[in-house]
Every structure is written in structure tokens, then in C-alpha cells.
């Protein structure tokens, strides 16, 4: 029968393995710029395009986002499971990213309504790009912390 120490080693390896999908993920360096451009051009369409053109513009942006997710899934060697158990080190950064639209979107709407569409587009482009940039940095720091914990 295996000794307790062997079983402990297996358990440690399993716990390390569970984190690999997260720590192995690498954000493409251009994602903050791409996300900023996506959000800004999407908002410009909402502000200045009406009818069929406006709907097509929105659909095009939706297709681009879905295409990006599909491409990212295919090109990453491993993809973290957001429905599985996320290592606790990522909690704060992920919560902050998912909550940031709760502030960014209403302010963008107000700017579009009371200032101008282009002002709203610039605002959302800058803030969303910054949010993604900060998330990518926080994600890298969290990955390093997870690797140190399970080493």
C-alpha cells in the first residue's frame, strides 16, 4: 500500500495541476488596445448610426467579440475554466473587471446624452482599455502568487 507521504505528494501534484489552466494562460499583449478600440467604435455606432446601418454595426461588433473568444480558445494551449474552481488569488482582479462596467457604462451613457457621442466613445475606450490593462497585470501577479503557493 502506498505510504501517506506518497499520497500527500499525489495530492499536492493534483492541487498544482488544478491551477495550471489558470497560470498557463497568457493574454495577448494587444488586448487592452483592441478592447479599447472595440468599445469606442461600438459606442460611436450607437451614438451616430440609426436604423439598419446601426444594427449591422452592432452585429458586426458582436461577431468580432465572439470571433475573438473563439480564436483565443483555439490558440491558447489551455484555457481557464470560469465555471470551475478559480484559485483565490484571482478573485479580486476578476471581481473588479466584471464590476467595472457597472460604473463605466452608466457614465458613458450620461456623457453621450449630455455631452456628445464622441466624448462618450473616448471615455469608454480609455476606461475599458485601462480596465483590461490593469486586469492583465493583476492576472499575471495572481498567477505568480498561485505558482509560489503550489510549488
Amino acid at each position: 500500500m502506498e505510504s501517506n507521504e506518497t499520497l500527500r505528494q499525489e495530492l499536492r501534484e493534483a492541487e498544482r495541476g488544478e491551477t495550471l489552466g489558470w497560470t498557463g494562460y497568457r493574454f495577448p499583449a494587444w488586448t487592452p488596445i483592441a478592447m479599447a478600440a472595440w468599445a469606442a467604435t461600438f459606442t460611436l455606432g450607437l451614438a451616430y448610426l440609426d436604423g439598419v446601418t446601426g444594427n449591422l454595426w452592432s452585429l458586426l461588433h458582436l461577431a468580432v467579440m465572439l470571433g475573438y473568444i473563439w480564436w483565443d480558445h483555439r490558440t491558447q494551449a489551455a484555457y481557464p475554466s470560469y465555471t470551475g474552481r478559480m484559485p483565490r488569488e484571482y478573485n479580486r482582479a476578476t471581481a473588479a473587471l466584471f464590476c467595472s462596467p457597472l460604473v463605466i457604462v452608466p457614465v458613458t451613457y450620461l456623457l453621450g446624452h449630455y455631452a456628445a457621442g464622441w466624448v462618450a466613445a473616448v471615455f469608454i475606450g480609455v476606461t475599458w482599455g485601462l480596465a483590461v490593462f490593469l486586469y492583465n497585470r493583476a492576472y499575471a501577479r495572481a498567477s505568480a502568487a498561485v505558482q509560489a503557493r503550489v510549488a
Binding site: N4, L7, R8, E10, L11, E13, A14, E15, R16, G17, E18, T19, L20, G21, W22, G24, H73, A77, A78, Y79, P80, S81, G84, R85
Partner: protein
């Protein structure tokens, strides 16, 4: 050393008693999918060993294997099935309980 009650061992899955299979399922439980090269490099196993262990897990219904492309550019991707995730979680929790 104290005797382990038989009931405490019931959660251990015979398929996952092999450490390499347990390690493969651990990676696939934390990821939506992982490709062949990623698993091989991170688990430090040979190509043939990974194929063999993954084949055993597929036969048990614990993972799904998909292949895309042909020749040198082809990619083999692994994904844990729902029963596989459940079996892995049960096995790991039993190990934790046994080890206190």
C-alpha cells in the same frame, strides 16, 4: 499507524489511482480544455505515456479527445467530461479526508 476504515476508501476511484491519470484530470478540471503539448510539458511525461493514460481515461468516460488538422500542424485537445470532473473531485476529496 491507524487502520483506515473501508468506508473511507469507497470514494477512491480505481481509474484515478494511477498518479499520472490523477494529474491529467486535475489539469482538465481547472481548465475548459488543454492541448497535448501543454499536458505533456507540464506533467513531464512522454508522448506515448500521455496517449496511453489519456486513452484509459477516455475509455472510462472521464475525458473527451478531439483532433483538428492533419499532419505536423494537427492538434489534439483534451476536455474533462462531467462524470470525469465528478469522479476526480470525489477522489481528491477522499484523499484529503484520508490524509487529514
Amino acid at each position: 499507524m491507524t487502520e483506515t476504515p473501508v468506508s473511507a476508501l469507497a470514494g477512491l476511484d480505481p481509474v484515478l489511482n494511477a498518479p499520472k491519470r490523477l494529474a491529467i484530470m486535475a489539469v482538465l478540471t481547472g481548465a475548459t480544455s488543454a492541448d497535448f503539448g501543454f499536458l505533456r510539458d507540464h506533467l513531464a511525461v512522454s508522448d506515448s505515456d500521455l496517449s496511453k493514460q489519456a486513452g484509459a481515461l477516455e475509455a472510462a468516460g472521464y475525458l473527451a479527445i478531439s483532433k483538428s488538422g492533419r499532419g505536423r500542424g494537427s492538434t489534439t485537445t483534451y476536455k474533462a467530461t462531467r462524470p470525469g470532473r465528478a469522479a476526480y473531485t470525489r477522489h481528491r476529496d477522499t484523499l484529503r479526508a484520508l490524509l487529514g
